[in-house]
Symmetry: D2
Subunit: 499 residues, 4 copies
Amino acid sequence: MTILGQTSDRYVQPVRDPEDDTLRLECGVFGVFGARDAAAVTALGLHALQHRGQEACGIAAFDGKSFHTERHLGHVGDAFTGDDLIDRLPGAYAIGHTRYATAGGSGIRNVQPMFADLEAGGVALAHNGNLTNFLALRERLVGEGAIFQSTSDSEVILHLIARSRKARIIDRFIDAVSQIEGGYALIALTNKKLIGVRDPLGIRPLVLGDLGGKPVLASETCALDMIGATFVRDIENGEMVVITDAGVESLKPFPEQKARPCVFEYVYFARPDSVVNGRPVYDVRKRMGMRLAQETPAEADVVVPVPDSGVPAALGYAQASGVPYELGIIRSHFVGRTFIQPTQGVRELGVRMKHSPNRAVLAGKRVVLIDDSIVRGTTSRKIVRMVREAGAKEVHLRSASPPIMWPDFYGIDMPDRDKLLAARKSLAEMTRFLEVDSLGFLSVEGLYWALEAGPRDPAQPQFTDHYFTGDYPTRLLDREIAEGGGDAAAKQLSFLVSA
Amino acid sequence: MTILGQTSDRYVQPVRDPEDDTLRLECGVFGVFGARDAAAVTALGLHALQHRGQEACGIAAFDGKSFHTERHLGHVGDAFTGDDLIDRLPGAYAIGHTRYATAGGSGIRNVQPMFADLEAGGVALAHNGNLTNFLALRERLVGEGAIFQSTSDSEVILHLIARSRKARIIDRFIDAVSQIEGGYALIALTNKKLIGVRDPLGIRPLVLGDLGGKPVLASETCALDMIGATFVRDIENGEMVVITDAGVESLKPFPEQKARPCVFEYVYFARPDSVVNGRPVYDVRKRMGMRLAQETPAEADVVVPVPDSGVPAALGYAQASGVPYELGIIRSHFVGRTFIQPTQGVRELGVRMKHSPNRAVLAGKRVVLIDDSIVRGTTSRKIVRMVREAGAKEVHLRSASPPIMWPDFYGIDMPDRDKLLAARKSLAEMTRFLEVDSLGFLSVEGLYWALEAGPRDPAQPQFTDHYFTGDYPTRLLDREIAEGGGDAAAKQLSFLVSA
Amino acid sequence: MTILGQTSDRYVQPVRDPEDDTLRLECGVFGVFGARDAAAVTALGLHALQHRGQEACGIAAFDGKSFHTERHLGHVGDAFTGDDLIDRLPGAYAIGHTRYATAGGSGIRNVQPMFADLEAGGVALAHNGNLTNFLALRERLVGEGAIFQSTSDSEVILHLIARSRKARIIDRFIDAVSQIEGGYALIALTNKKLIGVRDPLGIRPLVLGDLGGKPVLASETCALDMIGATFVRDIENGEMVVITDAGVESLKPFPEQKARPCVFEYVYFARPDSVVNGRPVYDVRKRMGMRLAQETPAEADVVVPVPDSGVPAALGYAQASGVPYELGIIRSHFVGRTFIQPTQGVRELGVRMKHSPNRAVLAGKRVVLIDDSIVRGTTSRKIVRMVREAGAKEVHLRSASPPIMWPDFYGIDMPDRDKLLAARKSLAEMTRFLEVDSLGFLSVEGLYWALEAGPRDPAQPQFTDHYFTGDYPTRLLDREIAEGGGDAAAKQLSFLVSA
Amino acid sequence: MTILGQTSDRYVQPVRDPEDDTLRLECGVFGVFGARDAAAVTALGLHALQHRGQEACGIAAFDGKSFHTERHLGHVGDAFTGDDLIDRLPGAYAIGHTRYATAGGSGIRNVQPMFADLEAGGVALAHNGNLTNFLALRERLVGEGAIFQSTSDSEVILHLIARSRKARIIDRFIDAVSQIEGGYALIALTNKKLIGVRDPLGIRPLVLGDLGGKPVLASETCALDMIGATFVRDIENGEMVVITDAGVESLKPFPEQKARPCVFEYVYFARPDSVVNGRPVYDVRKRMGMRLAQETPAEADVVVPVPDSGVPAALGYAQASGVPYELGIIRSHFVGRTFIQPTQGVRELGVRMKHSPNRAVLAGKRVVLIDDSIVRGTTSRKIVRMVREAGAKEVHLRSASPPIMWPDFYGIDMPDRDKLLAARKSLAEMTRFLEVDSLGFLSVEGLYWALEAGPRDPAQPQFTDHYFTGDYPTRLLDREIAEGGGDAAAKQLSFLVSA
């Protein structure tokens, strides 16, 4: 009896824990063309992208004759192990994917890369982002007889490629991406090509690297550093690169637009050692902290970051303000996803499983606490209480990003608008709710200053920043249909339940 | 980390062990409409059909709103357990499937029931049999943009249903089954109907039962006995039954033909307590043994069956010949699928893991050994040697079926023709190969006598019997294409490798 | 994360299912000295002894320098697999054990062989049977500072060996077995010797075999047949054999007594192809059936065994009575240990998961049903009902053993006396309870006739037969203490809870 | 088949990876007396102590009647999960243990707490530290007939308790600890008492806390913070506390000595938010960094810590030197224990799986790199290379502790002396080996300054500091015997192999 023998292959819909106070990116992608042991290279690259999706991962490799795929729930470092990795996933061509995935047992259906046998041969696809016309497209495809195996929007793209009337695979790709809307970075592997596409506005990131002469694609530059590859350039917004033995060809299948990359990559998602759209993330975050110190100063004894994402901004704040930087909160490396449900008596202690107060730093001090952003505020309040219980005399909370007030539809998993603290309360109300002595947010202007992109152009903003401004960069078709309340929307919802 | 987290979702092609000397049926199917705890009823029914497919099993249930499916590798009794079965698979409507499935880890993709979301709602499908134009249909569908997730011919049927231009689900079904060829019994569940179809010749079996007023479909009557249902009738060859709240409707979507059910269900596959096409299997097998005693008598002291499938014929042989029936071979109940690879020193003992000699019966005796059939002969020879080593003075081997000389294409997994003993050797050669004192087979006439169906009609045989006669009941399209050697065949083979 | 990482190492006490209507032997033992790949040979031998204990198994091997042990829950054929078995358990010396073990997850502590590092080197021990002074010995040892890791009586023996003041391992063994009481067969492996001991009355069986010149010990001869070894002789009651490179030495450490082997080995436990104490089990069981036909004849159309244990007696009954033997009940090969808890609606069908009625044989017939024995009667009644529902006109139940009226303390797991049908009811009451037309048991005299051991000697019975007679062969110290109600007993009960 | 069914219960000796360049503490201990849901409290406490042992963990709970224990491989947060934790481990009394444990599958035998049924009732034991006369005691106990189930020195203590001739459990404890030598902190739970003992020199730490009036024992104060308990006091060196319903009683069973706690708790092991022996670890580490800046200054642009353990010293270094502190190395949160074996082509990248360079900080800079200590130097060299490849102009490495030159025998897992860089090379050789522009270590005097304990007293040092000085605080009996080369040592080694 193998373990697989006990596999339950059930459909389960993910449900967001109502207490969950985090933002999550839904994916990281990686691909390499022509490099020895491509699957091992891809596993390392995915490991560097683990922060972009921690619940599932997959690799598809091509050995010149056959495709081999493996998809797992869990971390890359637990899934892609064993001396036989290269035997299981042989070949010089591979793509991979990490995913923040569904709750429940059988998310495995939704794990990427997805694979299809086309007439012209196999194609494997990995996708970071979200389609804003996913439900509309899916309904049309089901009406035409397409059978879906997952609830993932990536499968829609695969069906569009499979059904295209075009002959060449590149033309089928262009056919498919011309029909989708939203923010995305796609990587696909066929038996001859590695293809990368970035959405027309470049909302989701994608970079090109070079590993000893072999092209590499990745969501972030930290994946290039991990494998010892050099950074070549960002894939441009609306660009499709087609990598073959002949080299890297660049196509522009979409009407030209100005780039508008997601600002949250800088605020929270990207690793601090990555360079996103030409800007080192660490530098941007430090500048956010510096500006924050100017915009909302505080009389304090210590600057304390909420680790780890608040660290660079706190360093910037400390350097700009002259207040010493200290580790007042210690982060545990050992938080499992499924820790004990604490009983009532210990429930309040939950936050300490991840963060512990360092009394030696906090006791008797006026503390400026720096966090990257504030979502629902529930976690922030727990941290504030913890800092006070450790003896802090005053707590001044500063958010290194502007107030988050609008939900995302381009690949960020976020609570609904009515759960966002800044959408519900005034600054004074938030100050009371968070139980702090003072509260400050970086301004939108300050954010653009930190990004060194010039003042925000309201007519054509340089970044996707609707979380703070409500200014969405594309239409939101599925949402419009749903709010129109028509049959189509109802039908779509029913499929989500039945699947 | 869940166990699923370690699931490897790899495509692996099954490979038949070259030493494998067995026949295997590929499936059993079951369905129930409107009965309380339908999934539990289905699990019991599948347990009774376990002999028709021991490597994987699945259940799809519908609770009036949603479909829930579970598919597992392993036995029904290990997979569908737990107090929460009814919670996991709620509802009064369910179908199930047992499968002799693929080697390797990821057969789970091929496990049934398969499910699709159609425009009109979900449909789950379970299939016993084999399509003889599977590759041709698959190639056409891939050309039209269909994406296949498995290498199973059941998925072809699902795509044909999904792509049909007809509006009503029943018409889509008829559309689909009109395009497929081969031997099959299908059960499908939609959100309003339970559908059963038997191929135009009725090669594979399917019966209708009644569980307290609720209709049941199953491959064999033993599944009805298991759940306490009564037998209503066989589904006829070429019949489609559509079960709704209004009752059981019978359709005949195919041009009418005379039935020609598979004779191997009587010889080997069906359980002895089943009644197949109106004939109790146990009775037919006993009659085979009786006739065998007349056709090929032996001077002997004891009649010994090769358990368990040789038991009824041995009882018939003993009763007809007057030679006493004794348990000269004991069958172990504990043979795992994956026992130790015996080292060279103990390899010869392998057969004893399943069968042990009973010296008290065999020593010094002239033994008539009765087996249901002889395939490659390698297992038979091992058993003969084992019986001799236990002291038998003479060994007379009798096969209760005629010599097997032609492969099957209707759902029986069989060695290639050049491995079939009777296709390669004369009776005298077989006698030497098997190391027996005499060897005898039931004649084809004797087989028809045992079936009480009158003498075989060469123009229109009453049974599918090509294993013995080479007389195939349908054209074999995929095989013709493959032997034609065209591109299509080559392409199909490549997909099988690449998948 | 390894699977072991999720192992819960909890103490759990076994609890007998109150509905459980079976007898179970608690163990089988096997050992081989000096044979190549001894662990693979032992795995095969244990496989043949699987019927003596189906819930756990273990092997200890010695490679001339180190001991290696593996212990598993589950069947031998599932546990001792893999190409690396010989690498995991290297060497030419090995012993093994199969066990009917504890409920719950952590029975692994009680799985044998058990191992101890003595001053003189390691010793591994495997034990079939039960000590009747286990609790008394355990209490004494705990008082002396011994630490127990299991609730198994085998560990008591290991502590007695470890604490003996004797220098030679053989003398330590004799020291230990001189203190224990009950019925047992022990096999031990040291770094120089393989030791076998049978209790003074020879209650539990043990045989000596020869595998190409290398000595083998096993509970039953079927294990010798499995590995291709020849039978040499039974170990005698009260004999200790010490196997070294110099050969097999026989010691008699106990005061001489007449043998009194357990009669239930013939009635139920031993495999029919084994020869126990010189008598082929199959022959004895057939003779039981023949005598039963004489003692309690029935007017009937068919003789039907309750498979599998009732088969030989049914053959004997049929041959003696002239009533034809038919397979009226089919046994499933696929019953898992943990099948679904049927819901109320299907609970009554539970018995059919193991046994199915064969209507073709039963309908309209007067049936003599032959079972090996009747314990609580609950399973028998379900089978009788099932046979009637399949159409039997009359059901005459015959037990091939005398009425079971007294519990066992020598290694058989049995319901308490107040649950034994024959201890609670008269023949007429049992006939009504079992819902049969007539009921008959073999007499004790008939049993002795079948054993060909002469009439039972009431002063000194030839067999351990207290199940039928209440005549226990040894004192029952633990039971006497418990019934004495003293502190000692109370304390022992508390340890059983706390462990 | 349960997962447990596949458990291999094998003895495997741990083997240190020859490339392993880390120090590891072997344990953390925790206990709570009389608090509701004691097992949940203990799980939280162990989670805070996870850094003291990451490979296995266990909890023993007492509910007033019975002991329940669970022991797992893996992290606390993965092992002690589930809504039923309180049902599995009920009661108000519990102790727990985290362990850096053995390689191989069956470390479960060595996982603590260990449990024994004594005459007076059960006792569970958890132990942090190492006995320096373990082998000598074990040999004596085996000679007396004790059976060991593990290779852990904790089991020696349990046997000494079990075999003591004293009547009261406290006296048995004193009897046992009077015989052991080394550095240790013990926690034991009986059916009436929670007992804590710290070795005569107080080498290993142990603190007393208060959880709403209920006493708590733990290795570090961070476990008290985690559960919301207040710190009461350190257990003193050579003190035994006996906690009952009547309160906390303090005993001094050993001859009085001055305390000499392990200095490495400050250097590396303890969490920065713990207060050890009255000194906040974070403050001590910052002072080490400050003093290091004075002792070995460097002309540099940035101070960069090797995260996480180098962070406080780097902050101190930066504050004392005025050179800005920057995050030049990013630590991954996702390093699994069993990542892919990188193929030759990517092996050099291994260090990046844990640490990544932050180019934005490093490129073109003169970098002072601060680590807590240098062991073999192999990891340090990889980090130095990585920092250079990211563009650093100069790299000046500083160790916040003195050179490590002598191995430990009190519970720290360390490479052998001939692998310790500072024991093999001069400062100039180390500078070349590590490929740095300059190298500096904190002096022993500087370390004592940071500890604010006055200058080191060579006659009676205030701390256990032999790693730097070679001045061991106790005799090392096992080592003396081994170096004496006698039979005893040889025998002990053989048991380690055979076990």
